[in-house]
Symmetry: C2
Subunit: 435 residues, 2 copies
């Protein structure tokens, strides 16, 4: 587990304007990503306030050295895969040197401005080449809510409390925040018809998830023990697992979701490191009385003691009409990352338990992180109870599922007394009409 150190000092201030107060990216955060300045090539950077620091430029200026310089060298070529592969040591060295460099009292603070780009004038890219993407299903309230729609008497299938259920997702269609999502065509069979029809999805939905970036990875045939699984985590992001419910309902038997999900996945582009999130570690919530204990290959006491995350999560929705009326996005749900039945370490231990190899830059999704009540549902399928009960927006509009022109934003914040608030940056995309 990552420990608390001077880089978490809430009193620390940055020499970069806007990196204090209510920014997602105070000096205590320092998330890693890949950006292009207005006309430049893609390169590695770190977000601080409203700016992005060019890591290679800082290294070239002699301001990042040793292990930190090694981390920067591994991040060349427009993807962070090489840096993620190095694991915690160089990543932590980079954090420590960046913290010193960007400090309001840092000896080199006068040299920082030449290394910065205004974030608003940069493009943000996927931070790594994603080899494989796996989506889990560890949000137990989501599993229960959606299961109840099909099986009122037995919402959770018999394996749920034994197996961190997951499936392989589509890596090629993952895009960073800001890239619009086109409503997919697909096959669906409405209940009142005898045969399926092909056309634009009529039940387009979002899913609120966390993404987990894999660091060093493992060799095929060599499982990662649960006790070592945290060392495989290079960081976190927000993930919107866009879902076409009508396509999903017709296609998913017997091999699982396919085209209902593969048209697009949106992630927040900054990799928020385990170090930045150390203050927000909490014990894994106790299993309800009567639930089975995890099998030994999934059980590590240190993981149980501090393997969960306390992060506030929100879903915000704006519509064409609400934007025209100048209304702010409507908060359609508020949840928390603690609503995971399995920890990230358990997901990784399970994923590799049969010998499957994870690689640097692989991405895991947690599954939808709904809370226990209707106001904390991470998908419209749940909030609208299968499309039966619309939600009312501040604009006066109603929604059962997403309409063209809707824009969905996911937000995550770590908030804890005695620590600086940490944000993830936006995970946002606009729904375009089917072509």
């Amino acid at each position: 587990m990552t420990t608390i150190d001077h880089t978490h000092d809430p009193a620390a201030r940055s020499c970069v304007p806007g990196a204090d107060g209510h920014s997602d990216f105070p000096i205590q955060n320092l998330p890693l990503g890949v950006f292009s300045p207005g006309d430049g090539v893609a390169r590695a950077g770190v977000a601080v306030g409203d700016h992005i620091l060019d890591l290679a430029a800082a290294r070239d200026a002699g301001l990042l050295t040793g292990e930190a310089a090694r981390a920067v060298a591994a991040a060349e070529g427009g993807t962070l895969n090489g840096l993620l592969a190095l694991g915690a040591g160089p990543r932590r060295a980079l954090r420590a040197q960046l913290f010193a460099l960007l400090s309001a009292e840092g000896p080199d603070r006068d040299r920082v401005p030449t290394l910065l780009h205004e974030a608003s004038s940069c493009s943000l890219h996927l931070p790594a080449r994603i080899g494989d993407y796996t989506d889990f299903f560890v949000g137990i309230h989501h599993a229960t809510n959606t299961g109840r729609q099909f099986r009122p008497d037995q919402p959770l299938l018999p394996n749920y409390k034994h197996v961190p259920v997951g499936y392989h997702g589509r890596a090629s269609s993952i895009r960073p925040s800001g890239v619009p999502v086109r409503r997919p065509h697909g096959q669906a069979k409405p209940p009142h018809l005898d045969a399926p029809v092909f056309g634009p999805s009529r039940r387009l939905d979002y899913e609120l998830e966390l993404g987990v970036w894999i660091g060093p990875g493992n060799q095929q045939g060599s499982p990662v023990p649960v006790e070592q699984a945290a060392g495989q985590v290079a960081g976190f992001c927000l993930l919107n697992d866009w879902s076409a419910r009508d396509i999903q309902g017709w296609e998913y038997q017997p091999l699982g979701p396919f085209l209902a999900k593969s048209f697009a996945t949106t992630i927040s582009p900054w990799i928020v490191t385990p170090e930045a999130l150390a203050p927000f570690r909490i014990p894994q919530p106790a299993r309800p009385e009567g639930d089975p204990a995890p099998l030994p290959y999934l059980l590590d006491h240190a993981d149980q003691a501090g393997g969960a995350l306390d992060l506030d999560l929100e879903i915000r929705l704006s519509t064409a009409a609400s934007r025209a009326a100048g209304l702010p996005p409507h908060r359609v749900a508020r949840s928390n990352a603690r609503h995971m039945y399995w920890t990230v370490a358990q997901m990784i231990a399970h994923h590799t338990s049969g010998g499957c190899n994870l690689c640097p830059g692989d991405l895991l999704g947690t599954g939808t992180l709904s809370g226990p009540d209707l106001e904390s549902c991470g998908s419209l399928l749940e909030t609208s109870q299968g499309g039966k009960v619309p939600i009312r927006l501040e604009s006066g509009e109603e929604r059962r599922f997403l309409e063209d022109g809707d824009e969905v934003t996911l937000v995550a914040r770590g908030l804890r007394e005695g620590f600086a608030p940490i944000g993830f940056g936006a995970c946002r995309a606009l729904v375009l009409p089917a072509s």
Copy 2:
């Protein structure tokens, strides 16, 4: 569709010894791959008889020019992704020039020997970096046989004859022929127990599939019409979708197969091109009376007229005991690639119909290609009827599922009167005990 030309002349002979007669790789085949000579770096090559021709060396010698040289240039760096991305034009130019170069009467035949490596002294690699791997389920006899074990009255689910069902597989654990496969550990719940157990799989199985290599790919949001889908196919291979049936049975609800498949997939390392397979194109078998017509986005008359493949398929099994006794591998099944309910073009049109982007070097599996009877089943799950009826090998041993030390080889051959036989090379792997 690819047409028949002089490169299919069955009378053609190669200047390379062993490239005639019963080789998998006569001059009419010319499959593409990536190999390393004994001590050399990975490079692009073409198989001919018992040899591999170094493509860059041939180009450097001035023996491949124009579009063919462009294809070779795109194949540098130890993967063929760039070549696959170029599509049919450069690939066909390369075939035509290689045919002329390797011909027994070719004007440059004396220069060929310096470009060759003995295949037995080379290592074969994956021919491309596989971004995403998708496995379909188009073998209707397999779907029926396995469905019957769970639902005797309704083996095929209602969507089967409307949707080319598929799911995302694991790309990272795909390995070329020859790499052993370690028996996975995993969770399973035997019927006589109340709770699951974790241990080595006891129901390890093979699956006989064809693999399809994707060529140019498509932009996200821009589906590939079925009429243009054949242009996305860069070639074919054999694919063994190793499956742990006990893990699969417990984990797969509701999101599909995951660890039951992701520990390993074995492919034959040569990309057999659409051009080489042109003689073996046949009409898609007529749908049985009463089956629904494909929806318009899946229906192209040219595809129906010639989109299926007539390829003999075999599964061969040797055991530690049979090898010790000097017995040849036992043929446990013989099938044919024609047993696909959906064509490859339909798979691609469906996969992209919602906007999902395919990329050069993506791999599709067809799903298990069982024939209609017990001798043509592509998995032991079918042959042994769910493990109830063992098969007897020539060694006197019995098998319900695979045992440690078993070696499985998949074989494919195109055989048609008036044409040279075409092979795929072996897709072979040995089962190692769980670690």
